[in-house]
């Protein structure tokens, strides 16, 4: 599954995207917990995961949403355009 990071989150993690392999559907919150266990950088970046926003295939979803390996998950701080 492709994960995209934007804005401050991209800056903190140091990359704009990465691909992870998930064998069966998982909640986004589970994926975040797994990412946090990787290292201090991820742990810090996702410290306030409730205040981040999540989108699957360009639609807003919440942390309880289930994703599969073919999905594109985007994670970012609340938008600030206009």
């Amino acid at each position: 599954m492709k994960i995209l990071y934007f804005a401050k989150l991209k800056q903190l993690i140091g990359k704009s995207e990465e691909t992870i392999c998930i064998r069966k559907k998982k909640k986004i919150s589970q994926i975040i917990n797994e990412l946090k266990k990787r290292n201090d950088v991820y742990n810090f970046a996702f410290k306030e995961s409730n205040s981040l926003q999540y989108a699957v295939n360009c639609e807003y979803v919440d942390l309880d949403f289930f994703v599969t390996d073919s999905d594109e998950l985007a994670i970012f701080p609340p938008v600030s355009g206009g």
Binding site: L4, F6, A7, K8, K10, Q11, A55, C58, E59, Y60, A74, F76, P77, P78, V79, S80, G81, G82
Partner: protein, 149 residues
């Protein structure tokens, strides 16, 4: 009926004039321009960097427009939003709406801008002389959203 995301500057007068000519049978043309303020909370802003998730911004803005078009009868619209580096006093966003009567284009344009502030995937980073700061979404940006749409 167009939504454009672009790096380059745009001339608002040219775009509004062309839009007005293209919609010569409309009775009302609404326009809104959002610009970069040279100062934000006592900080001199040297430039802002606007990051964009283009695919999602297109999807979200089209969804918003579809909802608003069910509510307000308009003839045409144009949205231009810049990304990349933008300097103080330059334009960031332009919304132009044509309708037969003024209220439809006012409400459509205002509603569209309100939704863009909370749903369109753009992020602004302000650059000052010695530092940079990501701009947070304001609580007030959500105040005027018509969530019943």
């Amino acid at each position: 009926m167009q939504v454009l995301f672009q790096r380059k500057k745009f001339n608002e007068s040219d775009l509004i004039n062309k839009f007005s000519l293209d919609n010569k049978n409309s009775g009302a043309i609404f326009s809104f321009i959002g610009k970069v303020r040279p100062k934000n909370q006592n900080n001199n802003v040297l430039s802002i960097d606007i990051e964009l998730y283009e695919k999602m911004a297109q999807v979200q803005i089209k969804k918003i427009i579809k909802k608003l078009m069910k509510k307000y009868l308009i003839d045409d619209y144009l949205v231009v939003h810049r990304y990349g580096r933008v300097k103080p006093r330059e334009n960031i966003v332009l919304i132009v709406v044509a309708s037969q009567h003024r209220k439809e284009s006012f409400r459509f344009g205002e509603g569209l801008m309100d939704w863009i502030k909370v749903k369109a995937t753009f992020w602004k980073k302000e650059n000052y002389s010695n530092s940079s700061e990501w701009v947070n979404q304001k609580e007030t940006d959500r105040e005027f959203i018509d969530f019943s749409l």
